[in-house]
């Protein structure tokens, strides 16, 4: 009997150890400095980050646009986690504000609609070959893979204002449009487009309220919602608004008005493991008073705006942020690296857990009922369950 109790105790201790390990919080902030001869610098000699940046759902990559010398106009940056974090840079054949297919990041897309595999960009960089061309060509194009796709067959929705060159003609003047293409991949890993879809001119049903000039479109990771800021709405000031695509791909339903005129926002992934908050992110340049670090997020259940911060490092965000699949927030920033009181400014990328922000903790203390859906933190286990 004593022997059995001993085994039971050992087993219990083992299970508890697993549970404790499973509950380990990710660091509140992780820093990846961008260093090397290739980094662009400004007139002060400070590193210039690309403000237009897109973050991969696994928190490993940044697709960064910057028209500077030293690198290609668009670079893929890999965050390398080690005893001393760093970044690895891959040049690309892309130009302007190239974009990923959100959700899966199966493809990275040049503004002409040329779809490239992420792995090909890593292997061949500027010499990578495109898989196929498709989707909308226009200003500020964004794309998302629709939910339910597989490696073998998947649908991609792209959203933009088509310009005249695409044949949209005058309809392209401020009228948002989307197109759903279908692609497949063979056993050799070669992708082809099998259906071009058609151009859908959108939101005519909202023209009387939201006007017909919708700027700064951004789409949710699985292409079900989009955000845009009507430039001249008939029902109030310009403000960033979230809409839902209708089944006919043309009508739009207003879901939420954030009430703020802001730059592009970014959507979180739908919560699957309970670790994620459902939120949209802002790059909060324009705020004064030195509070927060320049990244704010609107939590959609509480309808509150929270700010990120790391006062010890005096973080100053300097790029558009993005959500990872597990709910962390990734952004380009400057921060202070201090040893024995001597501080050096660093520039690079930061991964932050919004659940560990002071603002969210304070909310949970003040409003335990309203804040009970907000977990203590994102755990290592949450990060491991990412499907990418």
């Amino acid at each position: 009997m004593g022997y059995q109790i001993k085994i039971f105790r050992v087993l219990l201790a083992f299970l508890m150890a697993i549970k404790i390990e499973a509950a380990t919080c990710v660091p509140a902030h992780e820093y990846f400095p961008m260093e090397g001869k290739w980094v662009p610098k400004n007139d002060n000699g400070d590193i210039v980050l690309g403000m237009y940046a897109r973050m991969s759902p696994d928190g490993k990559y940044v697709l960064r646009s910057f028209s500077g010398k030293g690198l290609s106009q668009v670079t893929l940056i890999e965050l390398v986690r080690a005893s001393k974090n760093s970044v690895q840079v891959y040049e690309t054949p892309f130009s302007n504000e190239a974009f990923p297919v959100q959700g899966s990041w199966r493809y990275l897309v040049d503004i002409g609609g040329q779809h490239y595999l992420l792995d090909d960009i890593k292997k061949y960089q500027k010499n990578a070959d495109k898989q196929f061309t498709g989707g909308i060509r226009g200003f500020y194009t964004v794309a998302s893979e629709l939910l339910g796709g597989t490696k073998e067959k998947h649908q991609i929705r792209s959203l933009s204002w088509p310009n005249e060159a695409t044949g949209g003609g005058e309809q392209g003047v401020g009228v948002l449009s989307n197109q759903v293409i279908t692609a497949q991949m063979n056993g050799k890993g070669v992708a082809t487009k099998i259906d071009s879809g058609k151009m859908n001119y959108m939101c005519a049903n909202l023209r009387k309220s939201d006007g017909n000039v919708m700027s700064l479109p951004m789409m949710s990771p699985w292409g079900t919602e989009f955000a845009s800021m009507p430039q001249d709405p008939k029902n109030g000031d310009p403000s960033m608004r979230i809409y839902e695509f209708a089944d006919n791909h043309k009508d739009c339903r207003l879901v939420q008005d954030l009430g703020l005129a802001v730059a592009k926002i970014n959507f979180s992934f739908p919560a699957v493991s309970g670790s994620q908050i459902e939120a949209v992110l802002f790059y909060a340049s324009g705020s004064v008073g030195g509070k927060g670090n320049g990244v704010s997020f609107f939590e959609r259940k509480t309808k509150k705006i929270f700010s990120l911060d790391d006062p010890d490092r005096r973080v100053r965000a300097d790029s558009y942020p993005g959500f990872t699949r597990d709910g962390r927030i990734m952004y380009g920033a400057y921060w202070d690296d201090c040893t024995n009181g001597a501080c050096v400014e660093k520039a690079g990328y930061v991964l932050s857990d919004p659940l560990q922000s002071d603002d969210v903790k304070k909310f949970k203390t003040l409003y335990p009922e309203e804040g009970k859906h907000l977990k203590e933190c994102i755990t290592d286990e949450d990060v491991k369950t990412i499907v990418f």
Partner: protein, 264 residues
């Protein structure tokens, strides 16, 4: 489906309200009302803005003239007031005795840490310039940065649109970037993408193209949160609505014309 969409839209329109702060509900409302007595429709518009934290509701007054900025962060317990008069950025907490003790606060890092040349642009220059813009005389400030490629590639287009409409075109560069590199990227974008079009309209790459903006007024108008941002001024006033991003000629010109009409 269309009916459902219509109902949702209708419900939304009915629930919309203007977003000035409700000073009737705040503590020390007498002090607050006097403080914001010039922040009225005649001089600009109140808009919701970023709160410091979830505990606050935040509002910023976007003025027609750069000397009349105000921001207020209101919570159940306290109120933070910030003002900018074209020179100093100040902050005060309204205490329980309704006292106000304004203190100067730092400009944001985007503005204060970058080197500034005499040829660069700031609010002193903006204030002087605006006074020269009499009725029906208009200007378009084009804030651009190589950090946003569209702002580079569309630079010559926007200059053409502005000149077509009789506006003075004033390009202003993001202060955080390298001038030489910015000029090079402008030339590169020019030759790569828009050579045929742009050569008809302008001689690019002059020093004026890389004058940086250190204007706190433009920062408060969210001019640093995206590039390009086009800000239109006329009749000694800046319009509190700005144009974000690039768009086609027809859409852009329609927006500018409407703004100029509203300013005159």
């Amino acid at each position: 489906m269309k009916i459902v969409f219509f109902v949702f839209t209708l419900l939304f329109i009915c629930s919309l309200e203007a977003s000035p702060p409700d000073f009737e509900k705040v503590q020390c409302k007498g002090v607050v009302k006097e403080l914001f007595s010039k922040n009225v429709e005649e001089f600009g518009v109140w808009r919701s803005t970023f709160p410091d934290s979830f505990v606050y509701e935040a509002f910023r007054f976007h003025p027609y003239f750069p000397t009349n900025w105000s921001e207020v962060q209101i919570s159940k317990k306290d109120m933070i007031v910030r003002t900018y008069d074209g020179k100093d950025l100040k902050e005060a907490n309204i205490g329980s005795d309704c006292s106000l003790n304004f203190q100067k606060i730092d400009f944001p890092f985007e503005l204060k840490k970058n080197e500034k040349l005499d040829t660069d642009f700031d609010d002193q220059k903006l204030i002087v310039y605006l006074k020269t813009l009499k009725k029906n005389k208009s200007a378009l400030f084009y804030l651009w940065s190589p950090k946003f490629s569209y702002s580079v590639t569309h630079y010559p287009f926007v200059e053409k649109y502005a000149r077509d409409l009789g506006l003075e075109f004033i390009p202003l560069l993001d202060p955080r970037v390298n001038r030489e590199e910015s000029l090079r990227s402008l030339n590169l974008a020019y030759s790569d993408f828009w050579k045929k079009n742009a050569l008809k309209h302008r001689s690019l790459a002059n020093q004026g193209s890389v004058a940086k903006t250190f204007s706190m007024d433009f920062y408060l108008r969210f001019g640093f949160s995206h590039f390009p941002i086009s800000i239109v001024a006329s009749n000694e006033k800046i319009h509190p609505r700005w144009i974000t991003g690039v768009m086609t000629e027809k859409g852009f010109k329609a927006q500018v014309k409407k703004i100029i009409k509203e300013l005159n």
